[in-house]
C-alpha cells in the first residue's frame, strides 16, 4: 500500500522520458522492473511524487551484436539474459549471474538497467559489469555521455548518474578469443541478495576479478601473473583483495574479509 499521492507518467519515446526527468528531477523516480523500488515504496522507504515508468518505452529491451561489442538495452529483463543464446555464448558469466537473481517471477520483471542504476552493493550485475569492462550509455535532455563501469559506482546505492540522467544502454566489449569467465555468488538462501559475489575474466594475458557485496562498491583486482603451479591463485591476488578490504568496518568485518577471499578463490577455480 502506497500512502503518498503519485503522479504517473508512461512515456513511449525516450525523448519524452528525458523531458519528464529534466522537469521533475529528484521528485521523480524511474520505474523499470520495480523489483527494488516497489517494495521500497510499499514500505514507505521511498516516497516519490512522480513515477516515470519505462515499461512502455520502445526499443530499450534489445540484445544486439554490433561489431566488437554487444549492446544491451537498459530494459532487458533478467530472464532474457539468462536465456539468450548469444549471451550464453559470449558472456556466460552474465547469463549465470542473471539466472541466479531472485526467483522466476523476479527474473521475469527485473531489468539489467534497473539493477545497475539502483546499485545495491551486493547486486549480481555490478561485479560482472566491472569485470567485463562494460560501458554505460547515459542520456539526459541536455545530452549523452558514456561512463565506464569501473567509475560508475560511488557508494552504497550511489552512482555517477545525475537526477536528470537515464541509463539507456550497456555496451560490453566482446572477450578475446579463448577467454574464460566465471561468476560466483555466496548467499544464505537461493535467490536472496548474495553476501558476497565475484566475477572473473581471464584472457589476453591477464585476469580481472571483481568482488562485490563486502564493500560499499565493487572493487577490481587485476593480475598478469600466471597461476601457481598447483593451479591456484597467483600470490598477488589475495594480497590485493586484502588491501581492498582493509577499510571494511563493523562487527562482521573479519567475516566479510574472509568471504571476499573465498569468493575469489572459488571464482578463479571455476575458470579452470
Amino acid at each position: 500500500m502506497i500512502s503518498q499521492e503519485l503522479e504517473y507518467l508512461a512515456p513511449v519515446q525516450l525523448s519524452e522520458a528525458l523531458a519528464a526527468l529534466d522537469r521533475y528531477g529528484d521528485k521523480a523516480k524511474l520505474l523499470a522492473g520495480g523489483m527494488s523500488l516497489m517494495p521500497m515504496m510499499n514500505l514507505a522507504l521511498v516516497e516519490p511524487e512522480v513515477i516515470i515508468s519505462l515499461n512502455h518505452l520502445a526499443g530499450l529491451d534489445q540484445i544486439q551484436e554490433d561489431g566488437a561489442v554487444y549492446r544491451l538495452g537498459a530494459m532487458v529483463r533478467h530472464h532474457q539474459l539468462a536465456e539468450s543464446e548469444a549471451i550464453r555464448r559470449h558472456f556466460p558469466l552474465l547469463a549465470d549471474a542473471a539466472a541466479g537473481i531472485g526467483d522466476v517471477q523476479v527474473r521475469h520483471r527485473g531489468t539489467l538497467g534497473g539493477s545497475i542504476a539502483h546499485a545495491d552493493p551486493a547486486a549480481d550485475y555490478l561485479t560482472v559489469m566491472v569485470a567485463l569492462g562494460a560501458r554505460f550509455k547515459v542520456e539526459s535532455a541536455g545530452g549523452k555521455r558514456t561512463i565506464e563501469a569501473g567509475d560508475f559506482f560511488l557508494d552504497i546505492m550511489t552512482t555517477k548518474l545525475e537526477a536528470s540522467e537515464l541509463l539507456v544502454e550497456v555496451e560490453i566489449p566482446k572477450l578475446p578469443a579463448g577467454a574464460r569467465s566465471a561468476y560466483l555468488r555466496l548467499a544464505t538462501v537461493e535467490g536472496s541478495f548474495p553476501l558476497a559475489n565475484a566475477a572473473a575474466v581471464q584472457g589476453g594475458g591477464s585476469t580481472r576479478i571483481a568482488v562485490g557485496g563486502v564493500t560499499p562498491k565493487p572493487f577490481l583486482v587485476s593480475t598478469t601473473s600466471a597461476n601457481s603451479p598447483d593451479g591456484g591463485l597467483p600470490d598477488d591476488v589475495p594480497q590485493a583483495v586484502a588491501a581492498a578490504c582493509r577499510d571494511i568496518a563493523g562487527p562482521d568485518a573479519d567475516y566479510r574479509r574472509a568471504l571476499a577471499q573465498v569468493c575469489v578463490q572459488r571464482v578463479v577455480a571455476r575458470l579452470m
Binding site: A10, G34, M38, P39, N42, R109
Partner: protein
C-alpha cells in the same frame, strides 16, 4: 489521482479507473473481486500474489496497476474456461494434497503452470527451483512437488488436447 486503465483480465477487456498508487494485486482483488490473488508480504518475497502478466508470472504486489494498461493478466479464475473443469495442475494439487492451508496455492499453481509450459518434464530439482519464488508457510513443499510431478505426467499423457480443452484464450501459459 485516478487514471483510466484498459486491461484484459482472464480474457475479458476491462476499462477501469484506478488510483495511480494502486498495486496490481489490489486492483485485481478490490476492483475485479479476483480474490484468488493473495497478499502475503507486499515486498516481492512470498509469491502469494503471483499472476501471469503478458505470458510471464510476476508478483502483482510489486507492479503498479496503472502500469499494466494494454496488457493481459491471468489469475487462477482464468485458468479454466469451464467453471466445472479444473486445470490438470489444480486437479493434481487436490489429488496429491498439495494445498494444506491453501494460502500459497493460487501462486503455486500459476508458478507450476508456467514451469510446465517451458519444461513439460521437470526433475524434482527443477520443480523446486521453479517454485522458489513461492513460499509455503505450512512448509508443505513435499506434496506440492508431488502434485507438480503428477500434473506434468497428466499433461504429457494428455498432450493432443491440452492446449485447447481447458485453457483460456491465448493468455495462459499451459
Amino acid at each position: 489521482m485516478k487514471r483510466a486503465v484498459g486491461v484484459t483480465v482472464n480474457g475479458r477487456a476491462q476499462d477501469l479507473s484506478v488510483d495511480t498508487r494502486t498495486l496490481l494485486v489490489h486492483m485485481l482483488r478490490e476492483d475485479l473481486r479476483l480474490t484468488s490473488v493473495h497478499i502475503g508480504c507486499t515486498t516481492g518475497n512470498c509469491g502469494a500474489c503471483t499472476v501471469v502478466l503478458d505470458g510471464k508470472t510476476v508478483k502483482s504486489c510489486c507492479v503498479l496497476a496503472v502500469d499494466v494498461a494494454g496488457s493481459e493478466v491471468t489469475t487462477i479464475e482464468g485458468l479454466s474456461t469451464n467453471p466445472d473443469e479444473l486445470h490438470p495442475v489444480q486437479e493434481a494439487f487436490i489429488e496429491k494434497h498439495g494445498t494444506q492451508c491453501g494460502f500459497c496455492t493460487p501462486g503455486m499453481v500459476l508458478a507450476a503452470v508456467s514451469l510446465l509450459k517451458s519444461n513439460p518434464d521437470p526433475s524434482e530439482d527443477e520443480i523446486r527451483h521453479g517454485i522458489s519464488g513461492n513460499l509455503c508457510r505450512c512448509t508443505g513443499y513435499h506434496n506440492i512437488v508431488l502434485s507438480i510431478e503428477e500434473a506434468a505426467r497428466r499433461m504429457r499423457d494428455d498432450k493432443p488436447n491440452a492446449g485447447s480443452r481447458r485453457v483460456a484464450s491465448g493468455s495462459v501459459p499451459g
